[in-house]
């Protein structure tokens, strides 16, 4: 199989170089680190200093179980799409619950990344987040947006809970499966529709690929969406086949066009705002509750809630600026 060609040319950006801010990589790198470490108070302080939350860059989510080859696929996809636009790839890996540390980017690393100006790759640890995304993910995505990225790819490991969380954060959700996932497909049944906008059968050179495609299509057609809704396509990919990656990219383009035509951006925006607020509150509450000792729980439930509510107000009351 021939190797995948790399994007070494720098075709001009569609809207001309003048309007796109030059990417300050070092600055962005540091800002993202600070945001990833930001406490809830710092996040709120930052928000007070920033323009209203209005994410613009289309977002693509890539999920699937470990071993689905999703990271290599994500990398190839990002490289391909960076030919046309500035792309940011955020990849989330799980933190060790014991040590709090993480091996990030624990995946195949592409050499080509270094030479591509329009591609930015950032690895994140899930840390203490309950849903498998990273803390402050909303803020991180907004920061990428503000840095002038025209498209964002969000890649995570996991099936189930993580997928739903990702789905709310992105415009186009791509679920990557590999031959052998037949049982999973059968188990999801009607739920398949909610999972993703595009299904990918990766490692399609393996036995069972065609069968899996058929199974997924079978489920999708058994529970077809209304005519006004998007019918998820099933794309076969193999990382050694550049054309298949292009096909996936084309399917994403099609979905993005469909989204623009059907204009439910407002709905997605609302979902994200809700998610953002909820994450912030959940985080703050989780931190507070985990510090509570046995004495606290002597009081009645009503009193416990009252006390916590007051502390929340106090806790959020002190706004200190975020250190750069």
């Amino acid at each position: 199989m021939p190797p995948v060609t790399t994007a070494s040319d720098q075709t001009p950006l569609p809207f001309g170089a003048a309007s796109a801010p030059t990417l300050d990589r070092r600055g962005l790198g540091r800002r993202l680190s600070a945001l990833a470490n930001a406490s809830t108070a710092e996040v709120m302080a930052l928000d007070a200093q920033s323009p209203p939350y209005r994410p613009l860059a289309p977002r693509i989510g890539l999920t699937g179980s470990p071993g689905a080859g999703k990271s290599t696929l994500g990398g190839r996809l990002a490289v391909l799409r960076s030919l046309q636009r500035r792309v940011g790839l955020l990849a989330i890996d799980p933190s060790s619950p014991l040590t709090g540390g993480a091996i990030l980017g624990d995946r195949i690393r592409m050499d080509e990344v270094a030479g591509i100006e329009r591609l930015y790759v950032r690895s994140l640890a899930s840390r203490t987040s309950a849903d498998g995304l990273a803390p402050n993910i909303s803020e991180l995505l907004v920061a990428m947006d503000s840095a002038g990225f025209e498209e964002l790819l969000l890649e995570t490991v996991g099936v189930g809970q993580v997928e739903h969380a990702v789905h709310h954060q992105v415009d186009t959700a791509v679920l990557v499966l590999v031959p052998g996932a037949g049982d999973y497909v059968q188990a999801m049944k009607a739920g398949m529709m909610e999972l993703a906008d595009i299904f990918v059968v990766n490692k399609s050179d393996l036995a069972g690929a065609a069968q899996l495609v058929t199974e997924i299509q079978g489920v999708l057609h058994a529970f077809p969406p209304p005519a006004t809704c998007w019918l998820p396509p099933v794309v076969r990919t193999s990382v050694s086949d550049a054309d298949s990656v292009a096909e996936l990219s084309a399917a994403i383009d099609r979905h993005q066009s469909w989204l623009n035509a059907h204009n439910n951006a407002a709905q997605r925006q609302l979902q994200r705002q809700r998610y953002r607020l909820r994450s912030l509150l959940e985080r703050q509450l989780a931190e507070m509750v985990s510090a509570l000792g046995p004495d606290f729980f002597q009081a009645s439930l009503h009193q416990q809630v009252q006390t916590l509510a007051k502390s929340l107000q106090v806790g959020f009351g002190s706004l200190s600026p975020l250190k750069p």
Binding site: R25, G29, T99, G100, A102, R109, R122, S290, L292
Partner: protein, 145 residues
């Protein structure tokens, strides 16, 4: 009833690198990666977020990843004897990109005769393979915290 305002992770030795982002890289053509992998695991166990590049990475690649990933430190693992040239290349790239504040550490087979030269380049710590891991982690934590 007192409620803690914020839970901070304790500063036990095991989590001495919590919140730190560290890049472990293999520059040059040297193919012995077990030392780099051991260090990466030990750093993870000390609470750090670690990115390991894999083998045969160019200085451009290493610097690019270090910057985009916003790491606090880069650890270069070199066992082929080419440490002086390779470290120079990486340090230069980092400085060119305005990232001279990212601390650089070197591990592997580094003869003592070369330590001074590396330190003059700005290398903050040199860790040879016989050093106990606990010592490496402590030294890194001191340099980064």
């Amino acid at each position: 009833m007192k409620i803690a305002e914020k839970t901070e992770s304790s500063s036990r030795a095991e989590s001495s690198l919590r919140g730190r982002r560290i890049l472990v890289a293999k520059p040059g053509l040297d193919g012995h990666d077990i030392g780099a992998k051991i260090i990466a695991l030990a750093l993870r166990n000390a609470g750090a977020e670690v990115i390991y590049t894999g083998l045969r990475k160019s200085a451009q690649y290493i610097a690019r990843v270090a910057i985009d990933e916003g790491v606090d430190a880069v650890g270069l693992s070199i066992l082929s004897g080419s440490h002086c040239e390779l470290v120079t290349q990486v340090v230069e790239r980092l400085q060119e990109a305005g990232a001279g504040d990212i601390q650089v550490f070197v591990g592997g087979t580094i003869p003592e005769a070369d330590h001074a030269q590396l330190q003059a380049m700005g290398v903050r710590g040199i860790y040879t393979s016989d050093m106990p891991l606990e010592r490496v982690v402590r030294s890194l934590a001191q340099a980064l915290n």
